[in-house]
Point group: C3
């Protein structure tokens, strides 16, 4: 059994941003040497997300509008009385999910035709990390 760990770093320019990372994840799979296994890709911060969806600007804007409606940044959340007034980012990331587990088959991410891996930032402009943990043979 092989295991492999890699960290990706992010520092987005905007408060909220979607960043495609499929190629970086496949690169990690290549480095791991794993041919059959599972690949966890997980945000290490609770105001960020890793998810699978379309790599398309329209849907990014739909997500942005929709998440702001579901969890408004302007609302008087209790968590905003702490030193980090980013409650809406916690809620937005909860909707989007914090991680994915990707199947690896014959050394490749075994994804459907439109499946792309994305990093979702909801409280950006600071350094954040994503962990890739691969298990298999």
């Amino acid at each position: 059994m092989k295991s492999f760990t890699k960290y990706l770093w992010f520092q987005t320019k905007k408060q909220r941003e979607f960043v495609p990372i499929t190629d970086e994840v496949q690169q990690a799979v290549n480095e791991s040497g794993v041919r059959e296994g599972l690949c966890l890709v997980s945000a290490m911060h609770i105001t960020a997300s890793v998810f699978v969806n379309d790599e398309e600007d329209g849907i990014y804007r739909d997500f942005e509008k929709w998440l702001e409606r579901l969890a408004p940044s302007t609302e008087d959340w209790m968590h905003n009385r702490t030193s980090d007034p980013n409650a809406d980012a916690h809620l937005k990331r909860t909707v989007m999910g914090h991680q994915v587990v990707l199947p690896i088959t014959k050394g490749q991410l075994d994804l459907g035709p439109w499946e792309r891996v994305l990093y979702g930032e909801f409280d950006g402009r600071r350094k954040k990390r994503v962990i890739i943990k691969i298990l298999g043979a």
Copy 2:
């Protein structure tokens, strides 16, 4: 270490539909020969979902009403200006989740009394796939 891969195919008659798949997943576990391990069940399309919930018609209808309220199919989403006007299906599947990882203990899916595995279709009437990837011993 053993690994095992299987694909399930779906083509629902309705645009939105919930399909129970627990038995198909247990069947894959049987075929894998894995006694202790993890079983990923993941939609390979970004307008479909795999999730664990109740196999009960009332909750299906509640999900349907609730998801349409949270992410209306009638709204003017940006993604609908592409060739695939199914933005609401992307959002609905995001709420429901795109995958589950199920524990395998003594060759059986180790589920609680009411846990059932379901496929959620939000843009149906076309061929879709789910991947089952099993890792263990």
Copy 3:
């Protein structure tokens, strides 16, 4: 390859409650002897959640308010015509997620600075279980 299984039991005093479980999960990792691997932590009931977020009272209250707004307990859901009138708990748990997969590196949960594992109960005052399933070496 090693595998390890442990069950955590809960019986909350309140209908809805968040319970920190990071230490219990790390304890299971210690017992497993796994140094590199994946740790699934999954609610075995469909009205409960396991998720990663902040261990902070303000965000707990924000989640409570927000989930009640998204999925009101007072609404006339179809599932409430069954013997278990807890439809809102099914929906709330769906938003929060039912499980997490945590990376294990050098025998420790490989979590970011603010990542904490939480059990979310949405239909409490009865016995519930969480499964921890660890795979690795």
